[in-house]
């Protein structure tokens, strides 16, 4: 049970890994994505993405600025304009 998570910026592919859950700061509110999420697309506001490597583990935060999140059959893809760190 894992979700394929990709974080891409114009400069590079930042992350491409299997995780448990990702919480994304959407423009209309935060949303969490688990494996098997329905197809979904949202714009992302400036904030931090929380990546949960496994159930119950402490989240890893990645600050992003502007972009899109897309959930499809092959997992979650976040296209961000800037990623900190």
């Amino acid at each position: 049970m894992s979700l394929h998570f990709e974080l891409v910026t114009p400069a590079r592919l930042v992350r491409s890994e299997e995780v448990h859950m990702v919480v994304v700061p959407g423009t209309d509110g935060e949303f969490g994505v688990l494996e098997g999420h329905a197809p979904f697309m949202s714009t992302v506001k400036d904030g931090s993405i929380k990546v949960y490597k496994s159930a119950g583990s402490a989240p890893e935060e990645i600050k992003v600025q502007g972009g899109f999140a897309e959930v499809g059959a092959n997992g979650l893809t976040v296209l961000a304009e800037h990623v900190e760190g």
Binding site: P10, A11, L13, E70
Partner: protein
Amino acid sequence: MASLKELKGRINSVKSTQKITKAKQMVAAAKLRKAQAAAEAARPYASRLAEVMGSLAAKVAGQDNGPLLMRGTGSDQRHLLVVVNTDKGLCGGLNSNLVKEAKLQARALEAAGKTVTFYLVGKKGRAPIRRDYPNGIAAGYDTSNVRTPGFDEAAAIARELIAMFEAGKFDVAHLVAPVFKNALTQQPVTTQIIPVPAPTSTVAVDSVVEYEPGEEEILEELLPRYVTTQLFGALLEREASEQGASMTAMDNATRNAGELINKLTIQYNRSRQAAITTELIEIIAGAEAL
């Protein structure tokens, strides 16, 4: 025949030129690797964005009230050519090829009765385009004060272009930029960027996708970003092309300089030998006369 001293001077001057071209070639080779890596690293974003665009545009296509960037102004009278040139020379025929392609497009459009203006990125295209179209240059963007133009520069260019488009300064914008194939070939390619061309291959969407906020709002945000990505890609390709072309040109220059040095050295040795021989003959003739 040139004197010995003159020949020596020429040999030295060609030698120092060769040193410069050799250094530039090595610098270009090192930079090329970096530029190529950067261009490759940017590909995932561009391809993903194109995918998202494709699936979204397929839904909104055919509606008359789509975003302005997608449906255009309704006419195609005024064309803007965005020409991406390099800032520095010493890169062979790259810039002249780009300018040639831009002028070719401009003439084709003018032959069809359209008006053409230019938007120039990079320094090297300005002079040759101004020569043919003294009043045709609408604006430009200077990338010479940053070491490696990145996404911020692309975003600035895109903002300016979109502002010009929304102000009604042009109807269609084309991007003329080099495409890096390898160190030997860089081809200038023209693509339409505004209005954003509808994707040719519509992705079959089999599942119902939820959109937040709405499809059109997302598309409206996506389109400027798509233009930016196109420009960013062009800047990266330009960087790689510049270094590739520079490497090839400088390699040729170094080799030519080497050939020239060999030729001059032979000439130098011959005239030195001739001078010695004449001197000897003179001495012998003088001795015999006694």
